[in-house]
Symmetry: C2
């Protein structure tokens, strides 16, 4: 049974041909956009627009009905009105269709009795003809490797994050924002009302998918609780699974019902069940993004001893608070580094420089010999630390040109240390929420440029210590749990 | 006593002349930067560089010693090494100096006995000659109105936020990031080791300062606990006071000791005392910024009934969760708006459209008549809501040019409603953490541009619902408490 679902989903991701039913020449219609995306993202199979109203769509010959297509059709993207879906399903078997993605919405989520009845009829018909459904009320699949996508300007290169999300909007947002942070995706599935294929199917599929190393999910309501939790326990042992449960509060649950007809369920029960299954819970899309960034760029970390370098006194105090409150140990500097400081600096600094290393108290000669960078290098070699954090701040008293030069050297050091690969390393750098006029400001341009350099070097970058520490402690806890039970 | 301190601090903000002692022609020295900032920010009093090593600094005649200055000196910025401070203080009375800002550091914060002794001697000397000290180990004052500043590229126009921060780096960061969000400052005081003037003095000063409407503070350790808490109780009744207590965890407290020699104290005691005094507590600089933004742009709000419009289904569900979990009520739509929907939309949408208003489920004809904007307008007129939230998201299936047009209309609606002034209004808009290459992307440029338009219209903008809801519930609670006890 599991094997069969996996095979069916494989067809959805690797169709030899795709029919967009309800295709259109109107560039503002989804029937147009789906064809456009297949072209733009480089899908190499057959593309068949199906519509009685247009003779061609984007240069592809359009067919009045599914049955008029000359060859077989593996996968259908359906943009028809809800009332026309049952008839379409009846047509599917003779073209060999395996999976139908119902972009079509306005079923049970409307709360209207007729619409809910029609949805039941759609499921009945699909079961009758042996077709699997994705949706209804979902935006479908993003699979960059083979050129299927549901949005504009998504990354074309693939990555290792596999996702299933009950909301197409949340999926689109996540892809846009996460791609700014260097994340790339294996497969993203938006699944709406989960009428047929549901969260348990997607989880099982992504769990065995070799292209997916990290699983993340946005769920409003669970269709098959027991099956899902048992799949979750298995999946969490093989790769990190991050779950954002939405529809937690009463207004949220009400909104979920009118969004995907989801029965949101009790949060307390959910939290316990997800934790016991070994999955990692996120409260917001942003928190999920910080978790994904962490697992994407960092290796297994089992210890909590953190070494922190960079920024001034305030940054050091606040970092120490954040990392310790999250559950890390901001351990004292080891003797070798104390010795190095004694060799390099006058007596005033002995015992004064600590962890976090406040580079702003160094005398000028320490900047000349790049003592901050060298301490970070020594930390990377020291068995006293499990994880290193570099803070890059705008808190110094420097002009923008001085600032740009300082940050450039800091980032070069960090990238150099990362390349040596001796210690997990993360960076806290806040690029700011920019106005359009700030796009010309050297300070913010410099931060955006250096952030890009860090990400290109596969170093995770977080906007705040709070976000970094709270994501990373969960990474450590995930690996600790996995280690303990395997 | 209080009146005297206030007068002394008034002199620090309104000096007729400033001497920068330890001034320098070296552009990378602080003795140069302080003179430069006075020039660049337009200080109109006398500027006297004092240094035996340079004959002039930035075109100003330099004097070998304080006593060589021809006229009186109200305020001294001291960049001398620590050992030379006592002698300088002895020179001050004959020039009529009222306040000395000791940028000079390396006193008790070093943990060295001799340095701590020297600090005590500095205080003794200051008391002897009747001079008040700011610092030591602090970066001083930012007072845009009269052209005094301690950093590059701070806003030159004044605003209504008054701050006192124990860290100059935290002050600099806060000013840079908050100014991106439309915040402007009345007076910012960085006060380092708080050897003489301390947190209680600054709080009392800002409390009575007519240019300051919101007070925010970063504190590592309290010098005069009882006096401070009693000042806090009084201040919180007249204006919002936001306090970030740093040095909470043990490593943070250790870092605070080596930063400003602060005795961080027990957090539990602190939290209770600050809450009881009626101040608003922040855990991070970013949280403090969200709170300042809230009080800066929003009026008194006493109720918790929130109306939310914009974004797709996922945004609606997540918003409902966030606002409700923070303590707001995401109330049902009132009958008048239900009626409007019945008038404008087919029966399928009756009872389906709720609060949050998921505009993505509207049929095309609703977009043509701008139903989303009109519902927001009706909410602004309705007594059923205390606060309105507009979500602007990148979650739609639109091309960037379509997206830009949609967001433009949304923002125009929001600004129009704000201008009518019938209801407090906030916006959740995430501009993303951009790479330098994203600066040319129309999507992110559009968001940055519209964010600027919103801020120019004095509308608070938050990156996430989480941040907005958690800041705004504390605004409501602050005003509720004030209402209850006054």
């Amino acid at each position: 049974m599991v094997a069969m679902v996996i095979e069916q989903l494989e067809t959805a991701f690797h169709p030899r041909s795709i029919a967009v039913v309800g295709a259109s020449g109107n560039p503002f219609s989804m029937g147009h956009r789906f064809v456009l995306h297949l072209v733009n993202y480089g899908y190499r199979g057959q593309i068949y627009p199906v519509t009685p109203h247009w003779s061609e769509v984007l240069g592809f010959k359009a067919y009045p009905a599914l049955k008029d297509i000359p060859g077989p059709v593996d996968y259908v993207i359906c943009c028809l009105p809800a009332s026309k879906v049952p008839a379409l399903l009846t047509e599917c078997p003779r073209k060999g269709v395996k999976v139908v993605h119902l972009f079509t919405a306005r079923f049970s989520e409307t709360g209207q009795e007729d619409a809910a009845k029609l949805e039941i009829e759609v499921l009945r018909r699909a079961r009758e003809v042996g077709i699997r459904l994705l949706g209804p009320n979902c935006i479908g699949i993003y699979y960059p490797k083979e050129g299927n996508a549901f949005g504009y300007d998504f990354p074309t290169e693939p990555g290792k994050v596999g996702m299933f999300l009950q909301s197409g909007g949340a999926a689109t947002e996540f892809i846009h924002y996460a791609s700014l942070r260097g994340i790339r995706f294996s497969k993203v599935i938006s699944y709406g009302n989960a009428l047929d294929l549901n969260e348990a199917d997607f989880l099982e599929y992504l769990c065995q998918d070799h292209e997916t190393e990290i699983i993340a999910s946005y769920i409003e309501g669970i269709k098959e609780g027991r099956r899902f939790l048992s799949a979750l326990s298995r999946a969490a042992l093989s790769k990190p699974v991050i779950i954002l449960k939405a529809g937690r509060a009463s207004a949220g649950a009400r909104a979920a019902a009118s969004h995907t007809a989801a029965l949101a369920g009790s949060l307390g029960t959910w939290e316990t069940a997800i934790r016991q299954a070994g999955a990692i819970q996120a409260r917001t899309l942003e928190e999920m993004m910080d978790l994904v960034v962490s697992f994407y760029f960092l290796p297994l970390i089992l210890g909590t001893r953190v070494g922190i370098v960079g920024g001034g006194g305030g940054t050091s105090v606040l970092s120490a608070d954040e990392w310790e409150e999250a559950g890390f140990s901001v351990v004292p500097l080891p003797p070798q580094i104390e010795e190095e400081i004694k060799k390099r600096l006058p007596e005033l600094w002995w015992g004064w420089v600590g962890n976090p290393v406040d580079v702003s108290i160094f005398p000028e000669e320490a900047f000349a010999i790049n003592l901050g960078g060298n301490i970070l290098r020594m930390m990377a070699q020291s068995p006293h630390f499990d994880l290193l954090i570099a803070n890059i701040t705008v808190g110094g008293p420097f002009s923008t040109t001085e600032f740009a030069a300082i940050v450039k050297r800091e980032v070069e050091d960090i990238i150099d240390i990362k390349k040596k690969g001796t210690k997990p390393l993360a960076v806290v750098l806040n690029g700011g929420t920019l106005d359009i006029k700030d796009f010309d400001d050297l300070r913010w341009r410099c931060l955006a440029e250096q952030k890009a350099n860090l990400i290109a070097a596969k170093i995770p970058v977080y906007s705040t210590a709070d976000q970094a520490a709270n994501a990373l402690i969960r990474l450590v806890n995930y690996y600790q749990r996995k280690e303990a039970i395997s």
